[in-house]
Amino acid sequence: MALDVAVTATALRTALGDDPREVWQRVVSGATALAPIEGFDASGFGAPSAAQVWHEPEDAEDDPALRILGPHGRLFEAVSRAAHSAGGLATVPRERVGLFVGMGMVDAAVHDLAAAAQASRDATGAFSLSAFFAGGYRSVHPLWPLSMLGNVAVGQVAIDLDIRGDNLVLSADADAGLRALLEAARSVARGDCDAALAGGASGRITPATLARLALEGQLLGVAPAEGAGACALVRHESDVVGTLRILGGGSAFGPRSGQGPDAAAMSRAMIAALAEGQRSASSCRFVFHHGADDDEELAAVAAQGLAGARAVHTKRHLGHAGTAAPAIDLALAQVALRAEPGCALILASGSRGGTAALLVEVA
């Protein structure tokens, strides 16, 4: 039986804008968000261009909420608030609202230790661990440790929006972001919650994260990006024209030599999504690809009879927002399908072999 869960609102933050219709028009017209990386010299990392969204507020050091959320968390909070409001989730009993999130890599903010390190130098000026333990560490902000836990930003969003139901936080690749959407839809379909907020946030582009994102981006032919996406889900009960519905999904694991999933695993995920959604490949008007020029993915799409669907490569324009990419693609798919009703298959893959597919439809 198809899931049949309705998407009542979407929200996104990308380097091409925050309005799904405007971002879709920019993608269709071939615009690019990629620009030289700001904030530090990234020329040596092999990926000097990226799609950056986040700019550090001047009061960041003094803002406890910013410290708890981190930049990725603030992006997710923004899209969550928008989707929660537009989707009418405040009218649903808070214990019956779920929260399902794919979080990008949440790394300890090493630069937050800089002051403590400065205070922990020995007579030669070198960093001294014994001096650090003897008292230098007291310069570290007490909220610094929370930056190490991937779910803390999600917990803060639950507090801010008064969400208290079923929940899950997955990390840190794009397939995790798609599975968060899918598990949210399943929770609503099962009746574990009446409505759900689901989405994802990218990691932040920093010298430390760029190594990973650049490596993945290079192999997929896309540049790294920051961003976030969220949607509100409810059980589909009425046929309102233009409603986007999640019909099914699938996920699989099969690492190829090198990086990412192999074609067989991607095929299994697509087959599962189409089967659960009870739709044929010919019903798909769009395929939102994960990679830009990934031969394995293209082979898998062709093998499933999806070559006739319009191929959409949002990452060529928006960069690769990692865990946020599926929720961003979902918001854009809604715009595309309202103009050309039918189904869309959204694909997402992880660097280590995980892959997932989500089937959506505007009837």
Binding site: R94, M148, L149, P207, A211, S251, F253, G354
Partner: protein, 428 residues
Amino acid sequence: MPDRRVVVTGWGMITALGASVDETFEAMRAGRSGVRHLTRFDATGLPCDIGAQIDVDRLIPAHPSDAVGGTELRLLRHAAAEALRTAALDEVTDRERIAVAIGGHGRVPDRDVIQLMTRHAREDGQVNVDALRADPRFDASEFTTRSPETAPTLLAHLLDAQGPVFPIVSACAAGSQAMGEGLRLLREGRADVVIAGGGEPLLSFSYYLGFAILGALSRRYPSPEQASRPFDRRRNGFVIGEGAGILVLETREHALARGRPILGEILGYGDSADGYRITDMHPEADGAVRAMRAAIDDAGLTPADVEYVNAHGTSTPINDPTETMACKRVFGDRAAEVPISSNKSMIGHTIGAAGAIEAILTLKGMQAGMLLPTINQEAPDRRCDLDYVPNAARAREHHVALSNSFGFGGQNACVCLGSAARALAGGK
């Protein structure tokens, strides 16, 4: 109708008290503590210097993949080896129907990386990238190995599990959420087998420093062994432990078809968000109560059916009375009759691994007809006035239990567990 009841056919673990389920269980039955002064690194100067360390020499031999997956992968491989052996998982030929759900948080930058980054910090606190790149000790790939999905996906690869992989990062609730997601995958027919659990290499410099700065760790203790004292009036924080626990879950139909012994049953799962504060539980235990009730409801049972609670029991000032309140709200007049105990009194808090380790110990207790104790019960707390199985294990046959996990960030998860005898008897 397919039989979608979910049973446990394999288990494995490594903790500070042993390199297997039996070793850990027997040490706990004897009421031993695995908490010691740290030897992994010199914590002199920090407000505390204790932890529940595993014996690295007892770990499964290193594998080349550990170079990428790190200690987290090695811990998971160790627990998985025991679990897969118990379950004879090699017999399962359809590897596309084996899923993996693992709670854990990857790794944080270790001391060397922090030293390197701070060495190249500019006066404004930002990293001098040019100097960093020029430093031969800088490894750009290091970041990629610390991501939370690295160890779970490498584990799936090594075990040839080709179904969905769930890297779950919900702090202390992650291990229980892994089992809960596994239960859902199996009930809905999305997998035949789920390898579920968690692993955390927490006794690293950065994690330890972080929790110490947060003020969450026990700082006052007459001896390391006496530091973790859940529900006792003198408790003053938790003790970090490290370890891993893995369960092999499958439908009862699948297990019986391949003739595997059943070790226990996952009867139900419930979760909730506190939506209150990041580091504090809801003062009325609302989230904990909802998770516990949801797990009981999901099992098709009532609170009257529950015979034991494996507590989250962290030894923090806030958790233990709040969890006590939760038990009173769930069990009502029966609360004082339901034994509750905390494994963390002996193996510390293993965060993302805790839910899996404690579920296995709960099932093992049912198998042995034994309630594991909460040690270090010396000074009663008037707000913690239930039966915590103080200091000594207690022989008691029991067949239905809850295992609680309440996380930093406000995520709560609870699994309802049943004995093997109950699963085989075919009751509800």
